[in-house]
Symmetry: C2
Subunit: 809 residues, 2 copies
Amino acid sequence: NFDYAVSLRGPTACGLSLTENSVDATGCRFLRALLPSDLAGRSKGGQAQNGSVDVLDLLQGWGSGVGTYDDFNTIDWVREKSKDRDRHREISRKRRQSITALLLSVSDAFSGWLLMLLIGLMSGALAGGIDIAAHWLTDLKEGVCLNGFWFNHEHCCWNSKETTFQERHRCPQWKSWAELTVGVTEGASAYVVNYLMYVIWALLFSFLAVFLVRAFAPYACGSGIPEIKTILSGFIIRGYLGKWTLVIKTITLVLAVASGLSLGKEGPLVHVACCCGNIFCHLFTKYRKNEAKRREVLSAASAVGVSVAFGAPIGGVLFSLEEVSYYFPLKTLWRSFFAALVAAFTLRSINPFGNSRLVLFYVEFHTPWHLLELFPFVLLGIFGGLWGALFIRANIAWCRRRKATRLGRYPVLEVAVVSLATAVLAFPNDYTRMSGSELISELFNDCSLLDSSKLCDYGPLAKGGEPAGNLSEGTVGQAERPAGPGVYTAVWQLAMALLFKMAITVVTFGMKVPSGLFIPSMAVGAVAGRLLGIGMEQLAYYHHDWDMFHGWCSPGAHCITPGLYAMLGAAACLGGVTRMTVSLVVIMFELTGGLEYIVPLMAAVMTSKWVADALGREGIYEAHIRLNGYPFLEPKEEFVHKTLATDVMRPRRSDPPLSVVTQDGMTVEELEGLISDTSYSGFPVVVSPESHRLVGFVLRRDLVISIDNARRCQEGIVGVSRVIFTEHTPVEAQGAPPPLNLRAILDLSPLAITDHTPMEITVDIFRKLGLRQCLVTQNGRLLGIITKKDILKHMAQMANRDPDSILFN
Amino acid sequence: NFDYAVSLRGPTACGLSLTENSVDATGCRFLRALLPSDLAGRSKGGQAQNGSVDVLDLLQGWGSGVGTYDDFNTIDWVREKSKDRDRHREISRKRRQSITALLLSVSDAFSGWLLMLLIGLMSGALAGGIDIAAHWLTDLKEGVCLNGFWFNHEHCCWNSKETTFQERHRCPQWKSWAELTVGVTEGASAYVVNYLMYVIWALLFSFLAVFLVRAFAPYACGSGIPEIKTILSGFIIRGYLGKWTLVIKTITLVLAVASGLSLGKEGPLVHVACCCGNIFCHLFTKYRKNEAKRREVLSAASAVGVSVAFGAPIGGVLFSLEEVSYYFPLKTLWRSFFAALVAAFTLRSINPFGNSRLVLFYVEFHTPWHLLELFPFVLLGIFGGLWGALFIRANIAWCRRRKATRLGRYPVLEVAVVSLATAVLAFPNDYTRMSGSELISELFNDCSLLDSSKLCDYGPLAKGGEPAGNLSEGTVGQAERPAGPGVYTAVWQLAMALLFKMAITVVTFGMKVPSGLFIPSMAVGAVAGRLLGIGMEQLAYYHHDWDMFHGWCSPGAHCITPGLYAMLGAAACLGGVTRMTVSLVVIMFELTGGLEYIVPLMAAVMTSKWVADALGREGIYEAHIRLNGYPFLEPKEEFVHKTLATDVMRPRRSDPPLSVVTQDGMTVEELEGLISDTSYSGFPVVVSPESHRLVGFVLRRDLVISIDNARRCQEGIVGVSRVIFTEHTPVEAQGAPPPLNLRAILDLSPLAITDHTPMEITVDIFRKLGLRQCLVTQNGRLLGIITKKDILKHMAQMANRDPDSILFN
């Protein structure tokens, strides 16, 4: 529409359509009146230009700020998309005029793809760097490589020729801290020294992380996903995706992961990818100047984040679609997929895991599952759902406490204490000492005969056990065996690790360091799943004569895969915490690479979601959004209450009447008075105060800037000048100051609904069109206004009144 | 809103909320005034009920038809969703009152899942049945099994003990027609007899197919996807998804596939699955009574269709999301996925392909691809794009010709002629004689050493050729070899097959038999790709000293996989025809089961889409939608023209003024006159003809039904009775007939936009909210109305004026 077109044409197409321009000393911008031809053509007959040319020119200055947003404000999607279409039309129109313009138009069309390529490359490279650095620092807690301190344990021993595959973790070049300082590798003193060094390094890393975050980029803490969801829904948080946040988040993420805290790097990687996206947006005017277009790019970037986190490009795209994005057109789907693939392949060519695999946890199971196993799978789902719901409650309660009490004032101390506790408690237990992703890898792993880990320490086959006929080829030689002493130790340690992880994760998530939830949640689930799996396996071994095992688990057959149970447990817990569904199943499917296990996965994830939803309908990200009070209109939940627009709109019955601007009856002074008396971010413009017939809507920010500019730059504008919003500027009486025509900043197409419109429809309109405000009319008269904030407030009220209204939706 | 609530409560919740009811002889329905409590509570103070109770009761009759739609009409999404939320609220409200109601509410919540399960099971079973039957009938064209005529060739020889794996296609039980009739298996006479029988069977099958379609279910022809897209966007075509269509489409699909026509079963399977979905919807009131909810189910059903067609559940869901669906909430995503999985596993347990694989074309390639190969891959993309665009143009031109000329009047003859031509031309060439899916399988196949097909007839290794060092394990022994005579024959035949398929598919698609496009498109691409692949392979063999092969294709290495080229060609052609992107890549990825080839796939599909879009922006389905003139508002294309609502709305400047109804100034006679004089499907209700201030909107159908009912059943309603739409019924003068209050059918929340609203925003609002019509106001006065049809007409006009405006979008 008219005004948007103008406010846009200033910043983007000015140099193309206007031949001369200059800026005077006061900062005003005078542009010789060469209006773009289509603009003149639009105003039927051209009369409109008579009075408003000066204003149009005035508003076209680059610095005027009309059409931009303040920090912590909501964008107007309709306006932004309109701006982009205007820009696009301008380019299309020019295309036929010259070769340069044609080239510009082609480059404009492909700039989106180029941007995706850049984001993919950069995010892939950063993710690779983070992986390598975190791996190195994690190993530094245990020892150092003599060949060069920059080698990690594995790399150090790779270079050594003296090691065999079996002994790949022991080589003379790698020295533990005890070996270096007291010269012994075994015994109590070595243990104490290693313990001490582990704790000291962990403290150092976490302190550095929290210090850097506090000092340079406060936005770098947390997982970032709640904020990104809010930003994608149309909120502005300046600097949240800036270059400082990117740099500091990347560094502190490495430190936080290396410190051994119970956190993951997946959520923060989404934030890092979005920062890359936002920064690269500045290279292209199309995306720099348009908040809606930029959000399309950010949606794709969040897909990239998950793609590099798990090596799961399809899962990443679905994650962005299902969990993060607000506005996800099909074009974005296709571009996200491209970017996610580029990122995954960049990561693969960096090869941080040293196994040529894209995925974080590569597993291959060979044993088919039996229908009866669905029972333990559903149990895992219930566990995941319960844990998810409880975790969210506990974490939110803890975060509330942090906000409300003195705890919140000492974030550095908090991190130090939690980190100390984590390190001290984690070191004695093998399964907590290793990093979260190593733990999950180990638990997902199916024991082959060559495996030397404790978890695979099975006893010899019982006598008479011979492979049964129904084995698939992959399982020959992997018959069910009794658990050895190693397995019993492992079970004991895993149980301790489970309790520890469950408790420590609650206090860790939300601290002032970058912290993701995916890995800790999956770790809890994987431990629980593996324990259940081992239990089932031993049950099947010792009691294969039971009815339930009859027919599918004969003696000597390999019928139960504890690794699969671990995988399902991980999926169930992650599902319970985040309430992801399809994307989670697809990520897990990409991790294992087989359709074979999709039914168990579905069963576990579905059960988990149902159980968790029954106990509390918000996922962790929504809960944090609500905790922080972000203005986020959840697109998934339906509004189920039977209220009308008239119940929500302002002014209420008892309030003073709605502040309106009349289209030709107010002076500059009156307007300034209205602006200073109220704090509304916009005013409806009506024909006259009596009729209350709606003409348009004008934004406070635009009004302030325009009046200010006019007073400084336009001759004859004084306090008593009339401000008019009509198409034709009326002729003023002799002696009166010239009027100020502000039709250019008037939104002539504000959306209006009737007072009888049900709120469910109103909420739908707000969500789908991305509105900031909506006017309410009754029988054609303007009655009030509903803003996004009013709706959020109303929804919160209704939810409090009837908390389980959504349960069976 | 008020009126919707009423029209709904009649059909669904009537028995629950109203204690007594009876239907009198005239069909009127009298309900003792026991209004649902929340309804009474809504009308602040209850005065509203005074005059309108009778009308409310009247409209609550089951048979009244208020709130339903005529055939070939567009549904009102807002109203339907509103209805569903009312129903939902009613159930939630009752939940706490009794155990029965609680159980009802739980069963209501889970009915969606149950429905998905049923659709999955049924569609999987039907797809399995279709596969088996089509396979059997296809083989019947060549011969018959002596053990039982119901065995197909493969099955027949499986049962025979005398065959080896190599000779699995020859067994004494299977007799070709020549063997049975003239007693010889070789020679000219045998060839002639087999040829003749092949043609006769083909003719018979295709005649049966077209006869059944014509006689019993005309909607069963074609692929059905254009119509399903239209239905999902909110159009009503009664019977299109009915049980007759299902039965006939299933049977004729088998016949059409077996007849050897150049068509596939994938599109029709989507139609079949949607029929299942629609039929099962009738089991649940929730879905039977609500057009919007039913469309959610149909979206899921179309995912099921692709899932069973290709054994690709994720691809199916993405296909539904990207290509078919209009309104796809996240809840549907999750349910679609569930249904698609159920269907895939049902199909697998039926095991129609006899290989325990879910997928139609299972391939596993072992050779990595080289960066330089991207060049031929992009070439395939260009071929695919060109062919896609040309095919669409040729097919649309042919269909137009069919519609315009006498050709269209003889569909049975047309099918017979095309079928005769296909059979006569196809028999002599091995690659056209086999069915489309067999051909694709064969072309995708990577030659192993054991393979005996012509395509794998390679000569011995050249001297000095020894396996190079850079081989992956899978390729040992598969070194590049010179093509043998078999390969040369195959190349020749494939080239002929390519030309034949390209020509015959153009005339086949659109005939009055069920016909899908996926398989023929893929076949064309696969042939082209295989030819290019063989060319590249031989080039690499004979010229491995060329610079381009240097370093990656040393003598004796296996560096080029012709099967991969075939796969990429198939994807490129399918992409060019349908313009699918992500879903296509995912389907292909699910077919091959490896992330390894996603980059080549992306390159080919992306090139193909770009090339095809440059030549014509519509995919085949959109082109057919436009050809048939369905009212479909394409959600993918952006409206780029700079027109305003005032340019599109009716009445135009020269037209008579807008027909409106006043809220309290018209009599029954005047209203009836208005209805008979005009053909609009609804009328705005205004305060008075002078002020033109909008009160609401009333639908013609509702108005007709209500007046008719009132005249029959309500005492004292005569021609001069006043019709009022206000909340309070005014007291009439002494002697005047009682007024008829129709506020219950008044939509109090019609959406209104201003005349200055740009059409791009208007189109967006129509798309996103699923509107049927929208009112246009100027300064608070009602000015005109825009319907979906006006928008479609306007878009067509603008597209004609500026045909390539969308090209660089």
